[in-house]
């Protein structure tokens, strides 16, 4: 097992290097002179040259990459053009907001998804199953931004909840002191995730229920309830864990739209704003951090999958 973890860790190195190369290329792939873009239109020749010097753009590409990588490893991703603050600081101030959102969304998704999936599988081909699966299909197909807007329309603006205009007034310093502020975005993200988990749980349960060892358990005189929860669920959850992990990773990096709709000052919002204002160091920084997080989440998912599914260890 330790061997596997070490090997798996080593394997992430090339992936991370690939990510840094891509992120680094961002700067050079945009049409035109990055320095010119940073300086803005109408800047003097001298200003552009100064910026070029400051950004190290006069060096050869490999040297630039080397500098970039060296700095990145030390946590230095440059400074924001817009605010002048170090990118790392900008990200750090936003990260926990996003993390909180992702965390609660995942919990909601797991909770709803598992219950729906299990009910659906246990009563498969009944009305309950069909209804759950139709709802899940909606949940999957409905784009987050649309669902989020609907929620705002219903709950915040439509006066269904009198005080709920609060939802729209996020303070830029972060949030979390009020569950009310978190609830709509978490529902927006979580229900989409729940739909995926429900479908996964259902199909996984149905597959497991058809296995020989379930028949063995019944032949032992185990009650249906225990057959479902003790014998089937534990096996069925193995693939679901993978999905949950990946969803969490996705929420961390991909809550861009939801954050924008609810005006949450998280990582997604930071990225969008940076792109809009052509704040390249910030764009690079957020993309890099999100990618690294995703790779790490994947790693954790793989390892936990191994731990849960001992059979793989053999091969």
């Amino acid at each position: 097992m330790t061997k596997y973890i070490i090997r798996r860790l080593l394997q992430t190195i090339p992936v991370l290097i690939g990510v840094t190369i891509l992120v680094f290329s961002l700067m050079h792939l945009v049409p035109g002179d990055p320095a010119q873009i940073v300086a803005g239109e109408g800047a003097s020749e001298q200003t552009v040259e100064n910026i070029r010097e400051r950004l190290g753009l006069n060096e050869s590409i490999p040297v630039q990459y080397g500098n970039f990588l060296g700095n990145a490893v030390q946590g230095d991703l440059g400074s924001s053009i817009r605010s002048g603050r170090p990118v790392m600081e900008e990200i750090a101030s936003r990260f926990w907001v996003t993390f909180e959102l992702a965390f609660y969304s995942t919990i909601l998704a797991v909770f709803l998804g598992l219950i729906a999936g299990i009910v659906s599988a246990v009563r498969h081909y009944t009305l309950a199953d069909t209804s759950i699966m139709i709802v899940a299909l909606f949940g999957l197909s409905m784009p987050n931004f649309w669902f989020g807007l609907l929620l705002i329309q219903w709950f915040a603006i439509g006066n269904w909840m009198p005080e709920s205009l609060e939802f729209l007034k996020m303070r830029p310093s972060g949030w979390g002191d009020s569950w009310r502020q978190i609830i709509l975005p978490v529902v927006t993200l979580g229900t989409g995730g729940a739909a995926i988990i429900a479908r996964m749980t259902r199909s996984s349960m149905l597959e497991v229920v058809g296995q020989d060892y379930i028949r063995t358990a019944r032949a032992k005189g185990v009650s249906e309830r225990l057959v479902t929860y003790r014998h089937a669920l534990k096996n069925a959850l193995i693939p679901v864990v993978t999905v949950v992990g990946l969803e969490f990773g996705g929420f961390l990096g991909g809550a861009v739209l939801t954050e924008t709709i609810f005006a949450i000052n998280g990582m997604g919002r930071l990225t969008i704003d940076a792109i809009r204002t052509r704040d390249f160091p910030v764009v690079q920084g957020t993309v890099l951090v999100i990618s690294v997080i995703f790779v790490l989440v994947n790693l954790i998912v793989d390892i936990s999958y191994r731990l849960l599914n001992k059979r793989i260890d053999l091969n």
């Binding site: 005189g221 096996n235 001992k310 059979r311």
Partner: protein
Amino acid sequence: MSVPEIILEVKNLKTSFATDSGEVRAVDGVSFKLPKGQTIGIVGESGSGKSITSLSILRLLASNGKIKEGEVLYKGQDLLKFSEDQMRKLRGNEISMIFQEPMTSLNPVYTVGQQIGEALMLHQNMSKKEAHIRSVELLKLVGIPSPDKRVKNYPFELSGGMRQRVMIAMSLACDPEILIADEPTTALDVTIQAQILELIKELQDRLGMSVVFITHDLGVVAETCDYVAVMYAGQVVEYADIRSLFHYPKLPYTIGLLKSLPRHDIEQDKLEPIKGNVPSPHDMPVGCRFSPRCPAATDLCRAKMPQLETDEKGNQVRCWIYSEEWDGESEVNIYGETRIAKSRGTETVLPD
């Protein structure tokens, strides 16, 4: 000599499955008796309904399966009338079952000990600790070396033969009256099969259980069973004590099966195969289900389904040859063997 107690009797069992292409009558008239302490073999080719029969006894059918008719008498009580709760108390306790695939029949996420212990805690109210101790004993009983270590193993850590031993240990946990073994050695190599057959026999002698042995292998039947029920297309077509069945099979199908079996212990010239294929469950022949393949079939066979006829020994056969109504020759030649019809049949009038 006292009449042995009949511990299990299946009477005219019929089980159907609802499928997309209509109802499939997987079991359509199965009857047999199992005297206490003895072994009955249920033998048949694939699709004959032998496994469904065994699952029907314990009412373990898939959700689209339904027992339509018949009785399953265990110690005189009809299991088909039991509540689900009563059945649960019986399963794994008084009647237990082992399955064909030792590789997939054990739950991969629990240790061997947990799986054996489950039945003990369920039916005998043992504590976790007691169940563990008993599990080790049971593993020892089924001949697993270093059982105190193996009890903590997961199924994937064991070989196929070992897993089948674990399955047996599990089924024996509560000292069952009846063990139903559904092709327990089919997935195993012969030398391992020999070990498992030996083990089942030895345990049966020691614990006095009765065994229902489901198999397609006539060799295994000859070696392990006291009685045999031959199944074809969902029905029991011949029921006999083991010697009668192998030395003087009555049914053309049984004779054909024995004649098509290549043997390693004697030299055979040519095999006598049964022609044709097993009928599709969607398109069963009207009369005797074997009639389209039977070398002795007459118009009567093709038109009317024969019933199980019982002879003086208590053996049964589902064949018109042995009924009063037989309309063929009085001496019937079947795959090179001659059988005498019960009635004289029609006499062949030879032209001058």
